[in-house]
Amino acid sequence: MGAVAAKSLADLRRRRLQSVVLAIVLFLGAGGATLALSILVETNEPFDHAFAAADGAHLIVDYGASATDAQLAATARASGVTASAGPWPVAGFALRGKGGIFGGQLASGRPTPSDTIDRVTMLAGRWWAAPGEIVLDQDTATLLDVGLGDSVPLLPDPAPDKRFGHTPPGGGGTAVLPAPGAGAGPVTPGTSVTATVVGIAASVSTPDVAGWLSPSDIMTLAGPDASLDRQMLYRVDPAATAADLTAAMAHITAGLPADAVDSSTTYLQTKADADSTAQLYVPILLAFSIFALLAAAFTIANVVGGIVLTSYRDIGVMKAVGFTPGQVTAILLTQILVPVAIGTALGVVAGIVASQPLVARTAQSFGLPGAVAVSPTVIVAVMLVSIGVCLLAAIGPAIDAGRLSAIGAISRGTAPSRRSDGGRLRRLGLRLPISVPARLGVAAGVAHPVRAAMTLGALVVGVAAVTFAVGMNLSLLRVEDQLDRTAASPVRVELNDPSADQRTIAATIAAAPGTGRSVGLAGTTADVRGLGPVPFVGYDGDASWIGYDLIAGRWFAGQGEVVAPTAVFTQTGLHLGDSLELSSGGRTVTVTLVGEIFDTADRETDHLVLRGAFADLTILDPGAGPTSWEVQPTSGTNPLTYADALEQATDRAVSAHALDAEGIDEGFVLFLSVITFMGIVLVAISLGGVFDTVLLETKQRTREMAVLKALGMSPRQVIVMVVASVLPVALVAGLIGVPLGLVFQHATIGYMGQVDAGTRIPERTFDVFAPAVVVGLALSGLAIAAAGAYLPALRAARARIAPVLQAE
């Protein structure tokens, strides 16, 4: 073993506690970065893998009644089309499961899972073979809590547009589609069907299909007079860009009537939806990772500087016995890079393991097995960046140390400090009206500005991380509340029996025991210049209480006024007070935008929706009546009991369900967990930074502390002194870290709103901190600092005095 290796090993053994903490800091930093990047890469790839494996469709087109079967068959031979499947009927329907009735679902009459394109993955069971059998999409099966062999009541979709009033946050939960014939008047009543679940499947190209069943069952559900949409899937070439797909669509529809296409989707849109998880997670995780690496860099710069400061005598002796400047630098760098490399390697492994649940979840959503996903690119990138950042932080002080002359280093290591007084801050610290140990600690803590700045950096990261994590959790929980509107409108009622008299139902609901407030609503689709077809939801009465948060303006006061989510304003360029003309079936109505509401609406409709008076709805759709109701029971009424009673009171003409105020989407919980976990990781990194810095500081001040102990400073007072040395910096860190965390919280929530639903965020979403919590967050720096400093302080308090005072 060479001299450099031998000395490095000896130093590593001597500084093993510090090395372990350094390794832990890097373990956490690299682990966080790996987690973030793995999710970025691996949640993106499953769609591509699944799409390639299934020969996914580039275009999914639903055709209306105006195109004949022969014309549709001819589209398969259009220019650019390389393969096609279909047509088969599709229709909206509803499913009754253990959690109630789930309307707005899409049924597909696809005859086989293994077509030339978009092969459906059978996860369990088999494909349907006869009427009365259904293959459920895996998400739907989970939603309904049913499995193979279970019977599922399938219902006609009573109100295809009701989804506009009840979109789950983030667009998750139920699959929706623009229902055939939406906005074209009342749907012909169909008949319920009870089907047996014979298979569970997943389709890459048609993730919005809730169930595959026989065309005859679909016809039964839609009604004898219904004109069913027919779906066709296409692979085209070229298909790399949206422009390619638009051109292909033009070729495909060239020979069809102008109104033949009811709706169309491209694989790029589906991919974008699939990527939305990554889009939400990754900026946050990357921000956390950058924080983590910054904190690690601060810590390492501090540690290396500290090692040099505490090793002057050692460095002098090394040079005196013949070590070259390069060898001295190499020994110092080895002391840093060995724990850094070990910590980074372990962190990468841990990050990969931690990312697997989310990655597997994404893969499984496409019917892919949740195998362990490892990206070599991520591993190499994290290793290089982590070690590179540490090398950058360490190399300056290490080179400086190598350049010291032997005598210079020895004399700097043994001579008393030549600093006259340590600066004004230190003098101020000594005059504070606090106990002597605390005073001495505070003064020592501010005596080295550069080191204090490095500690400050690590602590700011910790405080900002705590603030960000707490703020994100509180804000996202509030977003969940704001979008669910559970507090204002906890009971949702859907018309179950299309033949029931809606006015009677409305009166029954209003008169039901426990009803506080209720309002009926119905939806249609209206054409808006510049936007195309937009869902319009009309409220049959005062709906100002139903809980939509206002971002700007006010709730609509009556006919001629509407409120809308941000997307309507951004996509039209309209402002509050502007008017817009809605038209449907040759009828028009002009409304004024009076409020911008926090409403993510529906991803399928580009997050567009207009909410206004029922009178305007009936102008657009004269036959419309309320198809669903929102109810606020009186105070003290149990919503669950109320909902059950209401179903009985209407002889089950309606299905009523109480929103679970405590129920949170599993993915949402996972998301919050990741944020919390990353916050904890950053706090741990920050804590490790303080630990290492204070450990070095106490080593450097060993003689001073031994003297003070000889003068009668008790172990407890030593602890107070050491902990106090980081408190001034911690206070400043609180003052910087909290605003920084809040800025990141605002930016991230704002970004998520834009990415997920194109919405601005109401101020109330951010107003989640009580003043006491803000103070607590500001003081969290003190807690982190105190916790990080405590063990080194304890060590200093327990250190023996005599050997230190005798050795010189």
């Binding site: 001073e704 000889a710 009668g712 005072l805 010189e808």
Partner: protein, 230 residues
Amino acid sequence: MAPLISLRGVTKRYDDSTHPALAAVDLDIEAGRITAIMGPSGGGKSTLLNMIGGLDRPTQGEVEVAGIRVDRLSEAGAARFRRTNVGFVFQFFHLLDDLSVADNVAVAALLAGTSAAEARDHVAALLAQLGLSDKARHFPSTLSGGERQRVAIARAIVNGPAVLLADEPTGALDRRNGEDALALLEDLNRRGQTIVLVTHDEQLAQARAHRIVHLVDGAIGGDRPARMVA
């Protein structure tokens, strides 16, 4: 008269050494005298001083100082003991570089519970007594070796300790400064201060001490009155 310091069967073993630093030492030291501890390097002189001052604990035996069983004290108890019962003067002064001369002295008084105002007055008087008034706001790095040792002595006596423990107090000083420091210690002794002095310097011990105790290989190899007493 009962001795101020009493050691009975004091043995000290360090983990990394096969031989004890102190081997069953019995020693009584009277109040109001200068007792010199002499002997070769590694003989156990400083270890003995550390036992008396509560800086270290014996592996075996009893140490009693001013009626307090030092060997039985907890760490916190030993700290309280050191505040008021002993004062230390070290070979290398061990002043706190970041504190002014006045603060170096005051910190010992403040740790002993003296109020800030009282400590300030007391320190000022003490520095004046030792000819250091003009250096009160200076920092240790700007002082000569002799001045530093005087500051160290001021710090050691600021709380009026029962015993002053001086470990080679002239070891880092030139002859003139060493003489000055010893004269100061002698002066303190004349005013009743008990002093235990560790030194290599036979001449110094003979000239200044009342009693000379020789420690060889951790055991007492000689105990005799010094010349100045005779």
